[in-house]
């Protein structure tokens, strides 16, 4: 067997692929599900924190900044491990799904809060002054004038971060979440052949390339007016 045939046999083994694709596919659904759940909760929490921070109450700004800094400084893997392995010791147990979803949501929330807060700060002060001068309340000004512009400004960093954090669903493999990578790894050891890893790679491309295309389209569509 020459080198190329060996490469095919090792990483692109059709027989192994045929045997293990249902497990990879099952992992794909988990990855997509957790990814979407993380995106929804992470962005919602991040948006909420940015709005609260815009209230400029010092007692609230300090914990928000601390949260954002800590969550951005820690490797997400450590956050997942703490939730899954350390929290049961103080009586809080959770499934691998919950631990992964919660950890990544908080990490995404921290980044989203920082991006949105930066965008809110970058808007000219005259925007809210104009709105307030016509009798809009603080909240009406925030929701109708500030946030629509801030979300547009923050869209590129947000979509980047959503993709980066969703990809980290793979870290759930350390707590035995049966997502793509975890299933591929167990299939690889059972089969004694790394073809399932190749399949996992293909699955990631199949999930995230369309996500990136979608993100780029959203950015382009949001840009033309301003």
């Amino acid at each position: 067997m020459d080198g190329f045939a060996r490469l095919l046999d090792t990483f692109f083994n059709a027989e192994v692929a045929a045997r293990y694709w249902p497990e990879i596919l099952a992992g794909v659904w988990i990855t997509i599900g957790v990814g979407i759940a993380v995106t929804v909760t992470g962005l919602t929490i991040g948006l909420g924190l940015a709005i609260l921070r815009a209230k400029q109450w010092a007692w609230l700004a300090v914990p928000i900044v601390a949260f954002a800094d800590i969550m951005r400084a820690l490797p997400p893997l450590i956050v997942i491990i703490v939730f899954f392995f350390a929290f049961p010791l103080i009586g809080i147990s959770m499934s691998a799904f919950t631990a992964t979803w919660l950890s990544l949501s908080l990490v995404l929330a921290a980044y989203a809060e920082e991006s949105l807060w930066g965008a809110i700060l970058s808007l000219p002060r005259g925007q809210s002054e104009a709105a307030r001068s016509t009798g809009l309340t603080w909240w009406q000004t925030m929701s109708a004038v500030i946030l629509p512009q801030a979300l547009r400004l923050a869209l590129p960093p947000l979509t980047n971060r959503v993709i980066a954090v969703s990809k980290n669903v793979a870290l759930g493999s350390v707590v035995a979440l049966s997502e793509v990578l975890n299933n591929a790894q167990s299939a690889t050891s059972t089969a004694g052949n790394p073809t399932p890893l190749t399949m996992a790679a293909a699955a990631y491309l199949a999930i995230f390339i369309p996500a990136m295309v979608l993100a780029r389209r959203m950015e382009n569509r949001m840009q033309w007016r301003v």
């Binding site: 002054e129 016509t134 009798g135 004038v145 547009r152 301003v226």
Partner: protein
Amino acid sequence: MSASPLLELVGLRKAYGSLEVLRGVDLTVHAGEMVCVVGPSGSGKSSMLRCCNRLEEPTGGRIVVKGADITGAGVDINAVRQKIGMVFQQFNLYPHLTALGNVTLALRKVQGKSAAEAGALGLAALKRVGLADKAQVYPGQLSGGQQQRVAIARAIVLQPKLMLFDEPTSALDPETVGEVLKAMRELRDSGMTMLVVTHEMGFAREAADRVIFMDGGAIVEQGPPHEIFGAPKHERTRAFLTRYTSWA
């Protein structure tokens, strides 16, 4: 002039820390009057104007609108602000909304008007400033003068009793200043009460009922334009006007 003034500033003070920008301003504006405020940069003109709808919180004194003190704690400032329109130096149009969207936002959000009703009122306001054909255009596609006229429409659509103008032509290209001043003149002719901070001495001289000269956070002198520009009583007014008219 009728008995009770529309706007009365009584001993108005504003300080940022130890920096006093308003040192006791007393000013009365009657209904239908157009008052222009002139003075050097840093004289407190804009701060005074911005206190009138409490975009700046005064640190002392009273602001009385139609007989009611609006500086008290129990005042619904959002209700008051709907009766006091404001036009800014930098226009401050909302870039994500069309001209009509800018004009109708407060009608819809604050007054709860339907889209159709707000749209009709908004179009009428845009028509008054000569921009009915730009209703669906975004601010980024309008010239500075057009943007400022949309900003005027955004304020007058709420049918305010008083309009505040904060250097409305200072950020404009010279060729578009005229169209904004024309819109302001028409507003004045319709009977609107206006308090205008401006560097347009020609406009103040020709359009104002009264001119206020401010310096150092206080009103130095005030009177009809022909007196202030023709025969100023104070040395500081004279010095300012000489400086301004020599290169204006």
